[in-house]
């Protein structure tokens, strides 16, 4: 049901145009219908990159304990497949899963159908071209050599153009919202959509196009790299958690005051964290100290969010057995708390002295990026996709397989590298131990990492299988959506208490 009052593209750009107050908030089914093409397109592209990134992850991990593996080709050397893995899963998968989820959440929270879907489609096409060009560039040796920003300079404008479309779309949607109140998820989303282009363009300019001198580059690098996680992925992950946890169990969030406190303290402190990656490095003492203090201050938003989510869930944990979305998101939210507290500890100078430069850091990065963020994104997709396709997920077993392989896999991964990293750090700080002995200490943990990676691979294949299957079902005969998807239709109310 198209509303005739939807503004045209040019009209929606005009600062004078306002939403028509006579138009009521859109029905959920109408919103889902409008999101179907763009959001599904983004999710499918994201999952394709997830599979490709997983292949590169396995190659990278295997090379760590079997250096002769695929060693004959320059383009497959460790130092190239590793950044390709990172950039594919971060910019290819995580980013598209994040933006797709964010678009759907924005529409739902603003209570408007997705406007100008073509912008999203064009943006997604460009984004995927950018990721492909960037990954091939790295394999060809054009990496910038800057962590989290390896995509060669010629890929960046493509990505930026793509992002700009999303940014414009967000502003339009926000301006034409039909729900006056801003829910906490919207704060996080709007903030993330403002922060990301600032971070990305500043880093691209100051590091690649017109590099600043000396270690100022390192400062910009870690200001950017830590904030991509902290001010882009984390807010979107939290926005999803703040929406789906109350939504799935049908109970409002415990305390809105805590939500506000958590949001503003995150905004205030997270962006100052990055320099703790340079503890002991050639940076002025104050710069590192400021970041250490800000890192410890992160306990405030983390504890607030943890309390808020926990008290919302209290008495409702039995829903974990019945809801795939909740299962993934609660797992992610718990790991958000765990990884953040862990991050606070490893920012301290005395801890960093041991753990810096070791596999511990890699374990921590995956803890945040995977055990928290990616799992929350999986949970979100399990909620969103059936509503867009109007089809049921094909198999509960596949979902369980996905959850347990990925959940156990990432816990094994984080455990192995955290422990192995600490042992590596102690060995490295013992000057009487030859370096090759330090390497030998880490080897069993690197093998464990490969095993956990295989577990997660199984989960990713299961998820891709589910997604492919549900999409194929959509091509098949139409089924009554109200019988398939819970809660998205009034006819479902027969099953709900009156």
């Amino acid at each position: 049901m198209k509303t005739s009052t939807a503004p045209g593209f040019l009209q929606s750009l005009s600062p004078a145009s306002r939403p028509d107050p006579a138009v009521p908030p859109a029905a959920l089914a109408e919103i889902d219908q409008s999101c179907r093409g763009p959001v599904l397109f983004m999710f499918v592209c994201g999952v394709v990159w997830l599979l490709a990134g997983t292949v590169f992850a396995l190659i990278t991990s295997w090379k760590m304990h079997d250096p002769a593996f695929l060693a004959g080709y320059g383009w497959l050397t460790f130092g190239r497949v590793r950044p390709v893995h990172l950039n594919l899963v971060v910019y290819g998968f995580a980013n598209q899963a994040a933006v797709g989820t964010a678009l759907w959440l924005m529409c739902r929270l603003c209570r408007v159908p997705l406007m100008h879907g073509w912008m999203i489609i064009v943006s997604t096409v460009f984004w995927n071209i950018g990721v492909l060009v960037g990954a091939v560039g790295i394999l060809a040796g054009d990496s910038t050599g800057i962590e989290w920003l390896e995509f060669p300079p010629y890929a960046a404008p493509i990505l930026f153009f793509s992002y700009a479309l999303i940014g414009v779309w967000t502003v339009i949607t926000f301006r034409f919202r039909r729900e006056p109140h801003l829910y906490v998820s919207q704060w996080y989303l709007l903030a993330a959509f403002l922060w990301f282009p600032w971070l990305y363009s500043a880093a691209e300019i100051l590091l690649v196009l017109e590099p600043v001198r000396g270690t100022v580059q390192a400062a910009v690098n870690w200001w950017f790299a830590h904030n991509v996680l902290g001010l882009w992925f984390t807010p979107i992950g939290l926005a999803a958690a703040y929406y789906f946890i109350p939504k799935v169990i049908g109970r409002p969030i415990h305390s809105y005051y805590l939500s506000a406190l958590g949001f503003w303290s995150l905004a205030l402190f997270y962006n100052w964290n990055g320099m703790h990656h340079l503890v002991g490095g050639p940076m002025p003492a104050w710069l590192v100290s400021v970041s250490i203090v800000a890192s410890v201050m992160m306990l405030i938003p983390v504890v607030t969010v943890a309390i808020n989510h926990h008290l919302t869930m209290r008495g409702h944990f039995h829903h974990l057995k019945s809801s795939p979305t909740l299962l993934f998101i609660v797992f992610g939210a718990m790991n958000y708390t765990a990884t953040s507290v862990h991050g606070v500890l490893s920012a301290l100078r005395s801890v960093s002295e041991v753990t810096h430069f070791t596999h511990h850091t890699i374990g921590h990065a995956h803890h945040g990026m995977y055990a928290f963020f990616t799992m929350v994104m999986f949970g979100s997709m399990y909620y969103i996709v059936p509503r867009l396709t109007q089809r049921e997920w094909p198999s509960a077993r596949l979902i369980y397989l996905h959850f347990w392989t990925c959940g156990l896999g990432i816990m094994l991964y984080v455990g192995a590298l955290t422990l192995g990293g600490v042992l590596q750090g102690f060995a490295m700080n013992d000057p009487n131990l030859a370096f090759l002995k330090v390497v030998a200490v880490t080897k069993p943990y690197l093998v464990l990492r490969s095993l956990s990676g295989m577990l997660m691979t199984v989960g990713h294949i299961a998820f891709a299988w589910s997604l492919g299957w549900i999409l194929i079902r959509q091509l098949g005969p139409y089924r009554d959506p109200s019988a398939v998807v819970l809660g998205s239709s009034k006819s479902q109310s027969t099953g709900a208490p009156a």
């Binding site: 801003l182 049908g250 979305t325 198999s395």
Partner: protein, 60 residues
């Protein structure tokens, strides 16, 4: 420490808290913080009211 740095640091220590205080005062006076209790309910509506569980595993 050079003059520029002093200005920057003192400036940030004074300007930031003062502006935060003003923002808070403004927010309270204009009622930005008053209807927070509505906020948590905004994701529920007639279609999906409070109390309805909206997700489950697929049934065979």
């Amino acid at each position: 420490m050079s003059l520029v740095n002093w200005i920057l640091f003192i400036g940030s220590f004074v300007v930031l808290p003062v502006s935060a205080l003003f923002a808070l005062r403004w927010a309270i006076r204009t009622g930005q913080l008053e209807n927070l209790n509505k906020g948590a309910l905004v994701i529920f509506n007639d279609e999906e009211p409070v109390g309805r569980v909206t997700d489950r595993f697929p049934r065979p």
